[in-house]
Symmetry: C2
Subunit: 426 residues, 2 copies
Amino acid sequence: MPDTVDDLPGARDTARDIAQGRQTAEQAVRARLDRIADREGDLSAWVAVDAEGAIAAARALDSAPSRGPLHGVPLGVKDIFAVRGLPWRCGSPIWQDRIAGFDAGSVALARAAGAVILGKTETTEFAGYNPTRTRNPHDAARTPGGSSSGSAAAVAAGMVPLALGTQTSGSVIRPASFCGVVGYKPSFDLIETGGVAPLSRSLDTVGVFARSVPDAALAVEALTGLALQPGAATEIGTLQVYRSPVWGAAEPPLAAAWTEFEAGLGPLLDEQRFAPDIEAELAAAPALHARIMAMEAAEALAHEYARAPDLLSDGLRAQLAEGRAASAKERAHDRRAMRRLRHLFEGHVAPDSVWLTPAATGPAPAFESGTGNPAFNRIWSLLGLPCCSVPILRADGGLPMGVQVVGAMGNDRGVLRVADWLMRRF
Amino acid sequence: MPDTVDDLPGARDTARDIAQGRQTAEQAVRARLDRIADREGDLSAWVAVDAEGAIAAARALDSAPSRGPLHGVPLGVKDIFAVRGLPWRCGSPIWQDRIAGFDAGSVALARAAGAVILGKTETTEFAGYNPTRTRNPHDAARTPGGSSSGSAAAVAAGMVPLALGTQTSGSVIRPASFCGVVGYKPSFDLIETGGVAPLSRSLDTVGVFARSVPDAALAVEALTGLALQPGAATEIGTLQVYRSPVWGAAEPPLAAAWTEFEAGLGPLLDEQRFAPDIEAELAAAPALHARIMAMEAAEALAHEYARAPDLLSDGLRAQLAEGRAASAKERAHDRRAMRRLRHLFEGHVAPDSVWLTPAATGPAPAFESGTGNPAFNRIWSLLGLPCCSVPILRADGGLPMGVQVVGAMGNDRGVLRVADWLMRRF
């Protein structure tokens, strides 16, 4: 089980090498195109690779002053983001022939910071649960997870040092865990969402995949103008571990590795506790998340549902039907419940809080079984909290699993600081 | 100064007439096309009128069972919403030749409920402050307000009984006030925003223009599945009046009409009071709103800024430059301040609260002066609260001005109930 991400430099190293003249942006791009040529046949991570456009963009960067912190860094973009001149299929036959006429805001910001877009990565159907053809780089018989399947696999295979994805239930954290890379879903709405096909407006969050926490932070800094680098904390204090109300979903390999991880924390280990009323709310959150997502997805995909219902998968059509069937009373109740939970939680949790919980229920399951279970992600997605998965656990046989660092709303720096510390320590 | 909205039926009456066979959808559409033919030369409310498509859609509806509550109701759509096959220019020369390939979610939901889309209405440049060519139906020498200029003017002139708009600072409430129609901006994110060109993701809210509060409620019910009809309340209790920290911006005609309005409430009049710390936060909110809007607009329009900066207006380019210039520290501070204010306010205000405040600083100003002042709107847009403007005040000379009903987050029904009562009483 080769650790496929270690033989080409990460995002910061790529940018530094280019800035210091040790390689050109064109060389950086060509090295990744070579890697794609090597691995894509096995992995199917890409909807479209724009080799010509990427080389032209890299040459333009090589003959100009630095544009920003991502100058020359190759980037993969999930196929629900609009990228001008490239396909914008959203994993659906409905949009098989669509070419985007503009860049999503986040894509334009990445370009403005110097990123070179190598192409569009595979997504599940409209970033929902219906799998795409992408395989897990650690084991082609397994799923890379979803919905940001291609972005996670491409970073794991070294095809790009950085990729954009989105999370509505667990679509950044879960594939990062399955593919053994860093996945960072910032606080809700931290990154511009314009030009990204919507699934659930209260939940959809742009995030990134990278091979280290500082690389992920670099990308989000470039997209937000915020200062997010974790620095190199040596003292971390105690760490709050939280098995959460969904611990029952943990599969044996995860449960074993988690118990070992807790033991390994030694005197740093502390248990995260919430007040009983908050615990009760969190226990109800996964079901509320699923209902909100179904209701809002039915609205976001109203055009597709009206024009081409037969081209939606059975699973998605059933989810939309569930959302459409909600009564006025249920809709009002669920929107109020979501608002109330967010408000309660924000009032309850100290703004510098950070806790650790599993990123997924186990290692990547078989390809045929779907994209895996988002049980450990729904609560935090519903709350809009910053999450970062670091691939520091291993199942028997070596398959990666992630530790998910979660923080209070807006505490992205705290999350990244702990995540980086964990990566260096374990 | 003719009251231009009273000679063609409103949305509910149109739907009822069609349902009861008193007119066909095609007749309803043709009556509005005739009105457009009469008035468009003076008003320039439309980017594109799709007469052929609308008549075809109406005929299809006439030969089929009812599709929903808007069956046969003509609808105008602000030109920042994608409508399949129609221009999607966003008030900018950058997108002069763009035709949308899909429907925005809200547009698809309106169609699914039976609405007939007559065309795209004029918007200011990307729904910001740079005016479009539309004139005020009450006085062609005056602005209709912005940014939903064409939607407000079209409803005021009877060209459609219903139109979609959006508000980021005051773009529904202010033009509704200037044009003498009902404008309803629901609670933030109540209506699907996918396929609407973004300006500021924390603030952008889809809203509607209509000629009565029940008509506005009908439209938002169709787009959300919620039950929002105000009923016909006869008892309303006391009414909280709130001049707010921006009262200094009130111009003499508004100040005079407002004082008279307060006096007219007689024993129903009460004063809305917030705790001193909340008052201080609200006083700082307009400046915070402007900074958030500038920062997020720079991200939302990153593609346009990168590709065609010369095709942006000077005013918008300056606003984007201000947003881009914000430091990491200012960005973090302002995002935290917005979150904190929303949280504080939600904890402070009873969920059934409603208060009355001016919709705009005065009647519509001269066309050449811009689109008017959003001072009375910024605070509530920043908080994401439901607002409804009812055109029950008059300046000397008869120009309309609105009373803005604002409610606690999620209290859309309370807002509409009071707004409807005011319309019936005054």
